[in-house]
Amino acid sequence: MKMQRRDFLKTAGAAATVSTLSACATIESAPQIVGVAKPRVVVVGGGFGGATAAKYVAKFGEGNIDVTLVERGDAFVSCPMSNLVVGGSKQLADLSVPYTGLAKYGITRVRGEAIGIDPGKRNLRMQDGTLIPYDRLILSPGVDFMYGDLPGLQSVAAQSSILHAWKASPETVALRKQLEAMPDGGVFAIHIPKAPFRCPPGPYERACQVAWYFKQYKPKSKVIVLDGNEDIVSKKGLFTKAWNENYKGLVEYRNNQTLLDVDVATKTAKLEFGDQKADVLNVLPPMRAGNIARMFGMANANGRWCQVDFLTYESTAIANIHMIGDAIQIAPGMPKSGHMANQHAKVCAAAVVELLTKGSVNPTPMVANTCYSFIDDKNVVHVASVHEYDAKDKTMKTVAGSGGLSAAGNELEGTYANAWAKTIWADMLA
């Protein structure tokens, strides 16, 4: 019955676009029909992008839109701050927030794994066979890992031994346990894939966190950063300063380190120019958009990332499917960060609400980024930027003169970084 009403609404909408004057009456009567069967927005993924999108579609929609959030997990666990679990100053529970706060916005939460989409019939297929119909679908699946070029890391057993811990989860705690079990005098090596990857400063922050732990408890140990990139990708001067001043002799950085394979038994990174054996080996595999976002040619940037219209975050490949967060092909200077995913989500939510209520899409969207990195348990550095839509080039561009970095690590920003985390989690989930 609901479907029939929705079909009628679509017919009414189609009629409105065909005629001109007579269509006004149809448009005016549309809200009454909408009141009977609301347009449906389904969001996949309850991270920084998806949870924010669900909340803001409900908020901007002012009760006129039916919102469903599909998420496999029972609680949100934050990637930002999770390097502090590796360093030992925070617990996973400190970074976990339940989804229950979204109920007050009237958001329906479906716990489960979305495995398929029918863009023609507009429904999402769940692993248990359930079909969830949508008028507009918002995908915020984050990243998946590409183990294809690393023969030694194909098995679940290998992946349980050589961890990435690049999605905050019990795996983050497992990496911490590997460090705790390591004898003093050991080597922690981290391999960083070629950019783009999730959280550009994250690997270097992790090196700081492990060095901070070693400095206190295992001072004869060493951190070796094996970077697949030509140079440090983010906050270079600030991380270099921390390694030289706070962790002198503890951190060794090597650029242009192409990883060919991993020998799991000996914890050896097999690199283009020689092997590096470690006691704890942490490999961040190359990344791409989460599986569900790569269907139907939606990953139309190198088969890895999804191009979107930056006015609406609608896929450039499939109508009525929007993409936000780490899965999208970013504009230059727009990092793959949780903060940015939250900002995509709000632009997307505003546009989706306008599209479903016959409003007009804001032609001048803006997004901002703030990213804090912890040098130790208290001292923090940031990078910030502001981006505006360029109508001529149809992309986001950094506003000239905006943004910048900290001068050096400092405790005041440590206070702000903790406040930032609590506030953005509330902006998504409370």
């Binding site: 709000k346 505003a350 703030t370 981006h387 506003v399 943004g403 702000y416 930032w420 506030t423 902006d427």
Partner: protein, 106 residues
């Protein structure tokens, strides 16, 4: 001669066009622009500027105060860790829209 007339006409057309351009009012802002701009602040300052954390709440602050603070951040007369860098990303008009929006939040 024809060419000259043509050029003169073209010049007139340009003058006319620029006059129209000069007189044309700024295109009306999108009805939800203030709300959308203000949503960018929520990551750090809370949804609708409401927060009980160390980063100050913005809800209910007088618009004049907000405009003055953002100007001070832009000009470097109010010291900051990050706001002097972010404030430079917005025009005075955009800041005014955000300030008015937050002033109305209770």
């Amino acid at each position: 001669m024809k060419l000259t007339v043509h050029n003169a006409l073209a010049a007139l057309a340009v003058i006319a066009a620029s006059a129209v351009h000069a007189q044309a009012p700024t295109p009306a802002a999108h009805p939800n622009l203030a709300r959308n701009l203000a949503a960018q602040c929520a990551n750090c300052h809370g949804t609708d500027g409401k927060s009980d954390q160390a980063i100050p709440a913005l809800a209910g602050r007088p618009a004049d105060y907000m405009n003055a603070q953002m100007k001070a951040f832009k000009e470097g007369t109010r010291p900051a860790t990050i706001m002097h860098q972010l404030a430079k990303g917005y025009t005075d008009e955009q800041i005014k829209l955000m300030a008015d929006y937050f002033a109305k939040q209770k």
